[in-house]
């Protein structure tokens, strides 16, 4: 398998990563020396689509 960095080489420039969610992805890249900005994120309402819908409706009402 080709080095993953080859995928970005043709885009030019240095590989820098913003990682959302699973922190282990960021830790692995950091271990390879890749600059990573990790953003803590989880799906709204722990992935419950019903409550995510209610949150969205309440936010729409409140203009949040």
């Amino acid at each position: 398998m080709a080095d993953y960095r080859d995928l970005f080489r043709h885009l030019g420039g240095e590989l820098r990563v913003i990682n959302l969610g699973l922190e282990s992805f960021a830790e692995t890249l950091e271990g390879l020396g890749v600059p990573v900005l990790h953003v803590q994120w989880t799906p709204p309402a722990e992935g419950d689509p019903g409550r995510a819908r209610l949150l969205s409706l309440l936010e729409d009402e409140d203009g949040a």
């Binding site: 309402a45 722990e46 209610l54 949150l55 409706l57 309440l58 936010e59 949040a64």
Partner: protein, 395 residues
Amino acid sequence: MLVDCVPAREALGLAERTVLHSGPPLAWERACPPVQTAILCAIRYEGWAVDDAGAQRLVESGAVKLAPCHHSGAAGPMTGMVTASMPVFVLENRPRGNRAFATINEGLGKVLRFGANDESVVTRLRWLAAETGPLLGAALRAAGGLDLRALMAQALRMGDEMHQRNVAASSLFARALMPHLARTAPDTGAVARLAEFIGGNDQFFLNLAMAAAKASADPCLDVAGATMVATMARNGTDFGIRVAGLGPRWFTAPVNTPQGLYFPPYGAADANPDMGDSAIVETVGLGAFAMAAAPAVVGFVGAGGLRDALRITEEMGEITLGEHPHFRIPTLDDRGTPVGIDVRKVVETGITPLINTGIAGRKPGTGQIGAGVVRAPLACFEQALDALAHARGLA
């Protein structure tokens, strides 16, 4: 403003043969052993029964009623016992015109709030009612009341978070009260006993912080449509919240057991599930929410060091609506503590409120066995979100 200290029958209009407890409503059969033994002790203290067996018959027959402190304007630590003859502090939220009440903190060791119920507990309670309460009431009236918000803001700057650390607030309280106490007390022996009692209890101010928090939070229960949490409380069986836009309705789930550090020889297996109305201080942005202001307490509750304290306060900021205008944290460039828990933010992020707490022994009569932290159960907030959506016709 803290304005008085008078018997609960006078302050709350509390009926005889009624025992107030912490947390949401609780039937005798569902109460954990420390709460049950505290109820029996409170009945013996009032003289409604001569022994525990007689006291239990009164509760089981309905001759003695149980009710939450929060339904009578009071906030009670741990088991939360309040009965008619117990002296309670009277706090006024003058801009809003409401009052809140709390008993006098009994001190450490074998105390009613942790479910101890031997004769030493009853003897101390009777001294509090006969001597301490009247002394405190007279001194507070002579002082024209004490501004607790200013006192608490100062204590926060001195390293208290006012849940598991109240040493600065207790000291400031004593400093403010003592001149008035000396002028109004009938004899120096009584002053000395009370001064020794307050000076020997670093948690003396906890009950006052709770009543102040309740006086501040209660008016929010009338704000239609609001998604902010106005009450968090636990009774050793259930954790309950009340939400500003949903009035007096409780949303409950099984309470968690605290994680923390234990006094030798106790350990996690000896811990009772979490209890007490003291989570009202987290509700108004103190306690664990103000952890960054109280680095000394982080280790005491087994939650790490200063970096962890900063992280915890920052995390609570993820689920709150703003920063407290008066309770400011020096280590955060004087930013206010995170305040106003938003049901929507809790459900959206899955981050639940963290609470600093004392840990009671599971076995009745053991008392406090440690201190730690505990999370509010997510299910309370999920139920509240559903109810908010239903109330607005969205579900």
